[in-house]
């Protein structure tokens, strides 16, 4: 649900121990951000770190979720192949809430807007190339319908219908 809104431009320093000689900046536009608020949590991974859920991301940002679109800029990244994983921590409880069978309850997204099925997609499906200089990516959050204003409105109407 792309919606014009305030854009937050954030500069997050990469966490590489040594800043690469030829650095890149990556601007990520995260779309479909719910007006429910919370924190938008985003991580950038290389191929080695991506499969390991306990690995530290190459760079990451936790920023206030801005309804519609939130823009994040990661700076000082070494050129290479990366993957993005992001989710909107609507209730700011520092974790992505899941259902009793482990399915995500909060909006999430991957680079290239790949949709997972039963497990997160493999690195090759979500990877993109970062080159020296300025780069940009767009990530549309998935799983947003459930908590959307439209869904809340329809829930109220369903109550009227007593069905």
């Amino acid at each position: 649900m792309p919606r014009p809104g305030l854009r937050i431009l954030l500069s997050i320093a990469a966490v590489l121990p040594v800043t690469p000689a030829v650095a890149a900046n990556l601007t990520i536009r995260v779309e479909n951000v719910l007006p429910a608020g919370g924190i938008l949590r985003l991580g950038l991974y290389d191929e080695a770190r991506y499969p390991d859920d306990n690995a530290k991301p190459i760079a990451a940002a936790d920023v206030p979720a801005v309804a519609g679109e939130t823009v994040i800029t990661l700076q000082g990244i070494a050129p290479g192949a990366y993957a993005i994983q992001a989710y909107q921590d609507v209730n700011s409880n520092d974790r992505m809430d899941t259902s009793w069978i482990g399915l995500p309850l909060e909006p999430f997204g991957f680079s290239l807007d790949i949709k997972p099925f039963l497990s997160k997609p493999v690195f090759n499906a979500v990877k993109f190339i970062v080159t020296a200089g300025e780069n940009s990516q767009v990530v549309h959050l998935q799983n947003s319908v459930k908590n959307s204003p439209a869904e809340k409105a329809r829930d109220t109407i369903r109550a009227r219908q007593r069905k």
Binding site: G43, R95, G102, P104, V145, A153, A159, R160, Q161
Partner: protein
């Protein structure tokens, strides 16, 4: 804004990786089942007027309190309406709120019937969107227990069962939907009731972050041999406030003799833990 916190991202990724978790994760989530439960109280006030194919109008005023509990993808609700029905006693209502014309005699004296309606329970399961791509699918089942007075014609005196499926897809600010329902009424001894099919097709439109409009065409097949199918146009405007409150105003316009001529109402909903 917080700077990089790899731990927070890790927890999210872990969740994505565990779309089909092992027993340990399952047990942990079950421990959180009630902790994560959200409760919603809703109160609706609705008015409708129609002749339903008879020669006299029936006016209906319904106050409908609903309590709901939501956990993960499940929602359970219980409701009991308070009704004020004025007319000649020709019309009662089934579990889906559809009019049931039980007698076409117009010699009955006009009367106003008031009291609590039947107690209804329903459960809804939202199929996770991980399985449904960009679609959202909800399946519901409900039961109406005949707690209301049959003498005052506030109930059929029978137990009804309902089931429905709702499919929605978001296209930007538009959210077209189709809802299909099926009602199996209990069979009273004094009149005949049909199983009914209902279809609602429409769309929501998100005007702003806290304002949503919905329009739909609603169809219900005839519930008795004495009334025709119901065709209605429905429109609503919802104001969604931060903190869990939603206020909805709605109106209906009947397109057939089996539906109310007009209807209007307000629904106030508040979500809390």
């Amino acid at each position: 804004m917080r700077h990089q916190q790899p731990r927070t991202c890790k927890s999210g990724l872990l969740a994505l990786a565990l779309l089909l978790p092992g027993g340990g994760a399952l047990a942990q989530d079950q421990d959180n089942l009630f902790q994560d439960m959200q409760f919603t109280s809703t109160f609706g006030l609705g008015y409708s007027n129609g002749d339903y194919g008879t020669t006299r109008n029936t006016n209906v005023l319904i106050g409908l309190p609903i309590l709901s509990a939501t956990t993960d993808d499940f929602k359970f609700s219980v409701s009991m309406p308070y009704m004020r029905v004025s007319g000649r006693g020709l019309v009662i209502f089934d579990a889906a709120g559809n009019p049931i014309v039980v007698n076409r005699r117009t010699t009955l004296p006009p009367a106003t019937r008031t009291g609590f309606g039947d107690l209804s329970f329903s459960g809804t399961y939202s199929v996770p969107s991980s399985f449904m791509d960009d679609f959202q699918v909800k399946v519901s089942a409900g039961i109406k227990v005949p707690t209301a007075s049959t003498r005052r014609r506030l109930s059929t005196g029978e137990t009804d069962f309902t089931m429905s499926m709702d499919v929605t897809r978001s296209f930007g600010d538009w959210g077209p939907f189709v809802t299909i329902g099926y009602l199996v009424p209990g069979q009273p001894t004094t009149f005949t009731l049909y199983n009914t099919v209902s279809v609602s097709a429409g769309t929501s439109y998100t005007i702003s972050d806290n304002l949503v409009a919905v329009v739909s065409y609603d169809y219900d097949s005839a519930s008795t041999p004495l009334v025709t199918a119901s065709h209605e146009l429905f429109g609503s405007l919802s104001w969604i406030r931060e903190g869990g409150m939603t206020l909805t105003g709605y109106g209906t316009l009947g397109l057939s003799t089996g539906s109310p001529n007009i209807g209007a109402g307000l629904v106030l909903s508040y979500a809390f833990r």
